[in-house]
Amino acid sequence: MGKNKLLTMRGISKSFGKAVIALNDVQFDLEEGEIHALLGENGAGKSTLIKVLTGVEERDEGEIELCGRSIHPRSTNEAQQVGISTVYQEVNLCPNLTVAENIYIGRAPRTRLGGIDWNAMTRDAKELLEKFDLRLDVTQSLDNYSVAVQQMVAIARASDIKAKVLILDEPTSSLSNVEVEKLFSIMRKLRDQGMGIIFVTHFLDQVYEVTDRITVLRNGRYVGTYKTADLPRVELVSKMIGKDYAVLNQALLEGKEEKKAAKRGDVFINMKNVSHTGSISNMNLKISKGEVLGLSGLLGSGRSETARVLFGIDQVTGGELEINGEKVHLQHPLDAIRRDLAFCPENRKTEGIIADLSIRDNIALALQAKKGLFKKISKKEAQRIADEYIEKLEIKTPSADQLIKNLSGGNQQKVILARWLATDPKLLMLDEPTRGIDIGTKAEIQKIVIDLASQGMAVLFISSELDEELRCCKRIVVLKDMERAGEVEGDEISEGAVMQIMAGGEEQ
């Protein structure tokens, strides 16, 4: 390409304490006008590298050069001032401020008197968002809009700052396909203007659709940088996970076989016309022992809401709920736990992990709740359980004493899974269990799910990634607008069939 080097990182190392080496002699370079994918499994060090670059973490060793000048940002603010701006996976904006302010805060247009010019800000924000095909009332506070819109606003903010380098850290995980397309067209536009874009994602399709080059990290080390067009997908995957792709595929195929072999047992959950005011209505759902039931639908179709009702977070306000043939009324999640239900919520960070507790304590949590506060689980017992699941689920950690916040996303998810498995549930509900997780761990978790079902557990599997549901589930119930829209089973299951129900709501 012969373009100018924009950013060069050499010999970057960073460790947290003595035990965790996050980055070990990593290099990365970015040219003007390119979209460069930064890929790797969880724990590969992508996030840490981004944090070092944006000044959130300080590097232990190494050099960063921007436009030939050595830089050493100590805060996000400093990074922004030298021209590095970032959009994070979780929306990092202020929900209480207006959309316009969220875009312009810190660099708002001024009136002649020196005060903030709200009219100009509103006008500019509107114009900027129109480039993104977003027509919003920018004077409304941000929390009036969906997460997807908020993410677009964050991207608009970042791209509008006079940035030379734009970092997009998993920006697409909460966006729909149409929105992703929109984002890509904007990324291309920015690239053509000479901006260098670092794109961190787990979606390989997106990598091949939009990026020019790829840099792969593994276990905190630099693996290599490749032209996207020259790197076959299979090879990329094997570079990322460090094992042969064929092996991985084999594991999944085995899973598929087991899935076929699994027999459906007695009905465990039976929802009859269940409603909860303000969310789901007239939901009919049966889950049998030993089956993985997929719950599919677009964002806001009532997938998570159904799980919330089943777990007693939201109460049943109409219809009947039977668990194991017995009519029940769940007042509280504890009621559900005592009936051997388990629920891994969608939002791992806010609803799942207790960041400052150790892995052991995080695992013991649900079991303790089930037993009641007065039957304390001894430390020894907790240790035994923790060690057992660390081994079973292959959680990557030096010990069970490690604080959970120090683990990568995929391993955190496994800890949560372990927490619920420790209660020995009869129904396991998983809401987006693999979001933001690399393919290697993803496949592992999928396999665990299938294994569990074959041992007789009922599993409710909620995922917005269709191919994942197709792989794991024998039966998929499709929801639409808070109601059941249809169901596909066995050999009928295909992407097309599910999508047709999602789109048309036709009972087939």
Binding site: V56, S75, T76, N77, A79, Q80, Q81, T86, Y88, N92, L93, C94, P95, N96, L97, E101, N102, I105, G106, A108, G115, I116, D137, Q140, S141, D143, N144, Y145, S146, V149, R157, G278, G300, D481, M482
Partner: protein, 336 residues
């Protein structure tokens, strides 16, 4: 139609506060002779200027999601410190700026401790409260009268306001009320029109986001505590004009009056939402309750009882509004 609804929800707390004030004023006017007059209204400012100033200051801290319970002690300290210095012949043009600077220092220290050591604002300002209150009594256990001519001038100087011939249309405001007016206007400008003010809201919304958006969180947070303590000192100065004395046990628990003014005026203790105008009206509501209690010839503690009820009402209302807004948002998200 839907937009209308949203706008209403956003401003409903403030609207409710203003309406409540009007209702109370009308209630008083209907019930008592001589209540309905300009002077009743203006006296609310005369008697509560110091509370309003302190309330405006603390609103900054509350919007960031923090709390400052040191302000009443700072007010008392300012009074005692000034009275003590004036008694020893230090001129007022030295004493007043010094007192204000002490306020700024107290705020800067508290803010820095809270920000850099990540300490709980409650504990840090509790320590500040003990310190300032303790120092008051160390300086003087007894009340010290102030005889300085400038203070007397400010205490007694007033502007007559005449809207008509009848007695009800006559009133007066003391000079020190003008200080409140200046503080209010300045605070409104800062919060709405300056980068600092907007960052105060941003921090209240999400401190982490504010940091990641490149805002100078340290400066803003410490700045908010400085403003709070500075306003407390200023309120102390105004209070000295009002009472012409400095007494160490004065204004015990007044920080809670200031906080309740802010809450009644629509400020959320969780941060991110609030207005200084609302706080001023909130303080006036407390003033009018006091006035009504006086007219009714009740024990003045009935004021507290009434405010307790009001506070409960307001926080429950805020919660309901928040929950309903959440539901509304859910619906629009589903529709989108």
């Amino acid at each position: 139609m839907k937009d209308m609804k949203k706008i209403r929800i956003k401003n409903i707390s403030l609207t409710m506060t203003v309406v409540l004030f009007a209702v109370m004023f009308i209630f008083g006017s209907a019930r008592y002779d001589h209540f309905l007059s300009l002077s009743t209204f203006l006296n609310l400012f005369n008697d509560n200027a110091y509370l309003m100033i302190a309330g405006i200051g603390i609103t900054f801290v509350l919007i960031t999601g923090g709390i400052d319970i040191s302000i009443s002690s700072t007010i008392a300290f300012t009074g005692v410190f000034m009275a003590y210095c004036l008694e020893r012949g230090v001129p007022s043009f030295v004493v007043i700026p010094t007192a204000l600077i002490i306020g700024i220092i107290v705020g800067a220290v508290q803010g820095s401790l809270i920000h850099y050591f990540k300490l709980q604002p409650f504990i840090v300002t509790l320590a500040g409260q003990f310190l300032m209150r303790g120092l008051c009594v160390v300086i003087s256990e007894a009340s010290i009268p102030i005889t300085d001519p400038f203070f007397k001038f400010m205490a007694l100087g007033r502007i007559p306001i005449k809207l008509g011939e009848s007695k009800a249309l006559n009133g007066k405001i003391y000079y020190y009320v003008l200080i409140f007016v200046v503080v209010l206007v300045a605070a409104l400008f800062i919060l709405k029109k300056t980068a600092f003010g907007r960052a105060v809201y941003a921090i209240g919304g999400s401190e982490q986001s504010a940091e990641l958006m490149g805002l100078n969180v340290a400066r803003c947070k410490i700045g908010a505590y400085i403003i709070s303590s500075f306003c407390a000192s200023l309120a102390g100065v105004v209070f000295s004009f009002y009472t012409l004395a400095g007494y160490g046990l004065q204004n015990m628990g007044m920080e809670l009056d200031a906080i309740s003014s802010a809450v009644i005026g629509g400020t959320l203790l969780t941060g991110g939402v609030g207005s200084v105008f609302g706080t001023a009206v909130g303080a006036m509501i407390q003033g009018i309750i006091q006035t009504i209690v006086t007219y009714e010839n009740l024990n003045t503690w009935w004021t507290k009882v009434t405010i307790a009820g009001l506070l409960c009402f307001f926080i429950v209302m805020q919660r309901i509004i928040a929950v309903r807004a959440e539901a509304l948002k859910g619906k629009t998200a589903a529709a989108a």
